[in-house]
Symmetry: C2
Subunit: 439 residues, 2 copies
């Protein structure tokens, strides 16, 4: 009888080799052939590992016949210090075995330092272009953002939840919702986990979820995706929506710390400058609009809305005048916020809510929610909504909810602004937009 005992196959990483502790040791590596250069008498083989590339030097005699780029190989040899090699080390190869071969050469060279492809070409070739070190670096940083979110919130006693993406009603209203036939009934794809994360505040007090969010936005912009990853949290027993902003700020500080520690290679490769999240300024919505308009000399077109260009100006103001990459814009107009947002008792035309701008773009929307049943029903009715259609959501208010609030962060936008990318599609592995359903 065969038993499996959890003896996991180990893998060698660039980071592990670069540590230097393995110098002059014999080792076995596996990876893809990134480049082959015959220097006459010696062949330089660059081997792509999971997190970096290693220079390997072979006698032509050990090279398997027909070895090409993107062959998967296993090679054994000696790791040795070599100041002229990238990273300061190389592998003197003794044996190479080919594990698999490509059927055709790559459409672009992955060994080049940069990839200057038109976005349409890049996205069509994504499945293989992602193998380029600069693309890998972007999504490694994205992985760090998610890990930081979870680690930070778990330490702050949040509980992770998984809530349904097929829903019977939209949480955010409007027409940007995908419809679905669900066994003959009409269903929708969730625009946010809003109702469910509020529900779970009644259960665990503090919850978070990382999951897909679907928005049937009909316009094509550099900042919208039709499917994105939402980093959502919701917390009970807040004394005001500033508690939510403090929590986000704590998370951002942790992000900076984690990326500096775990992703130094990727940050350097992409030339990313980490932002300072130690203290984030706050401006009221109307005040932010006024200050930016005065500073940059333009007229405010709509006092109740914030256009992307105006957001960019406000971000510029935050950077130039306040010295910050981040800015909390608070007290958004009530009519621009969903029905669950709590109005400011001081002036109910505005809400106890905020957006976070990062380098001139909104990356977060959050605020305090209505917890009182009568108040929630009244606001729905004032908007012409029928509370009967939201019975299972209103059940939580009816049977008691603490004061609470939360936020949603767009992972791709956060990645985009962190990495200084031009288009949010570059910050999504396989973006969905009006014309793009594959890869």
């Amino acid at each position: 009888m065969k038993f499996v005992t959890g003896e996991c196959r180990q893998t060698t990483t660039y980071g592990g080799l670069a540590g230097g502790g393995l110098n002059n040791a014999g080792l076995t590596l596996h990876g893809a052939v990134l480049a082959l250069r015959d220097m006459g008498g010696l062949v330089f083989l660059t081997l792509r590992l999971a997190d970096g590339a290693v220079q390997c030097v072979c006698d032509p005699a050990v090279l398997p016949e027909g070895l090409t780029e993107e062959c998967a190989v296993e090679l054994s040899g000696i790791l040795r210090s070599e100041p002229r090699a990238p990273g300061g080390f190389e592998v003197g190869v003794e044996q190479i075995a080919v594990l698999s071969r490509p059927a055709e050469p790559m459409p672009v060279s992955l060994a080049k330092k940069g990839l200057d492809l038109h976005l349409d070409t890049e996205l069509a070739l994504r499945p293989v272009v992602l193998r380029h070190e600069k693309r890998r670096a972007v999504f490694k940083l994205q992985e760090g953002l998610c890990r930081a979110f979870r680690e930070y919130l778990t330490a702050q006693r949040f509980t992770e939840v998984h809530t349904p993406k097929i829903v019977h009603a939209g949480a955010e209203g409007g027409s940007n919702i995908f419809k679905l036939d669900y066994f003959g009934k009409k269903a929708y794809l969730a625009q946010s986990p809003q109702f469910y994360k509020q529900t779970m505040v009644g259960v665990y007090e503090r919850v978070f979820e990382i999951g897909p969010v679907f928005r049937a936005e009909k316009h094509s912009t550099t900042r919208h995706l039709n499917e994105y990853t939402g980093l959502d949290f919701e917390m009970g027993y807040i004394s005001s929506f500033y508690d939510v902003m403090e929590m986000e700020t704590g998370f951002l500080q942790y992000v900076v710390e984690l990326l500096a520690k775990d992703c130094a290679y990727e940050l350097a490769l992409l030339g990313v400058e980490l932002p300072d999240a130690s203290h984030i300024p706050c401006l009221r919505f109307d005040e932010a609009k006024r200050l930016a308009a005065e500073k940059y000399g333009y007229k405010i077109r709509d006092p109740y809305d914030l256009e992307p260009e105006e957001e960019a100006h406000i971000g510029q103001y935050a950077k130039e005048v306040l010295g910050s990459d981040f800015l909390f814009v608070t007290h958004y107009p009530s009519k621009k916020r969903p029905f669950y947002a709590m109005d400011d008792p001081v002036d109910p035309k505005y809400t106890l809510s905020f957006d976070l701008l990062f380098r001139g773009m909104e990356v977060t929307t959050g605020g305090q929610r209505i917890h009182d049943y009568a108040a929630q029903v009244a606001k729905m009715e004032a908007r012409g909504m029928d509370p009967a259609g939201f019975e299972s959501y209103l059940m939580i208010h009816k049977h008691g909810m603490p004061p609470h609030g939360g936020l949603g962060i767009g992972l791709e936008r956060l990645t985009m602004k962190l990495c200084g990318l031009e288009n949010v599609r570059q910050a999504c592995l396989f973006p969905r937009d009006r014309s793009r359903l594959e890869p």
Copy 2:
């Protein structure tokens, strides 16, 4: 100017109080009133915190007027040792402030030890029934499963990815796929992240994803959901599909360790016995069928399929004869596995694949995938599929993929069997089935 500096509001947990370090200290707690008992002269208030309930003792004079169950309150008092109280401590209350009040009493008592509701009633009331300590415990264990998955795989150098759920083609074939109108084009909800996780093996060698999976199963059973959470991983440079099974076994061992450490309270509350994952037996598909049929005296109906009842018998065999809650069943028939499964070169009627049975139910499907372009195209054509419809997927094979394999674990099934639940709906916060789109 106001600045936010990351000073996060702290919360007090039952676990924090139970530690005992705070005895005789003054403290402030917030929570929901779980129960109120007037003992004449003294009122016992049970306060529900995020992770447990605390006995609080009040003079009737400090009780706010009209205080009821499910009021959210903030109270201050002295924590003191009290052997007769649950947990061995109580809070002598000095002040109580009501933060919010329910509009109506709870439909069921949350203070009772057990909740014996019909499943339909339970699910209809889920938004508030989840506040019961036994329900909270189930999903706290589920949170532990996810955390263990990520922590273990991250330590094994896997990278987390987020892949699209709106797709242009199904990965698993068959008719159980939800259709969607995507700006006038036909689209589907992903049956698994299969194509994308394989793609990402070419990028990061080892990847994982936790995300929703959609299956339009038309039948209603105790083990199927129409939307569930998949724990998926995929790894490159495997020497056989046993590497995948070793990795899963390592994960399960880590689960047991993590739950024992972090969730002792929940395990005890639910009476959960942790399984032994130290060594998991493996049987071939045909052998497992034969042994169970012989042992339990029934005839094999279909040599190529494994019905749920037969799975239960094989699980019983694993427990009674092999002494294991787990069993890897390997070498599933090729015609029952998807087109990307690698056939066994020794006998191509079978595949290099496996399921993991846990207490008699399949909780994982995995195996080695075809990495060679010509072999993949040939298998698709042999099945009457048109490779032209899978161009962006086949791009990875065309340009070179290492030998690789992976698996998908159903989070709700794993939770269900761990907790000894009768129905998978009990292991999903807000289950989706043929008739259930809300809550």
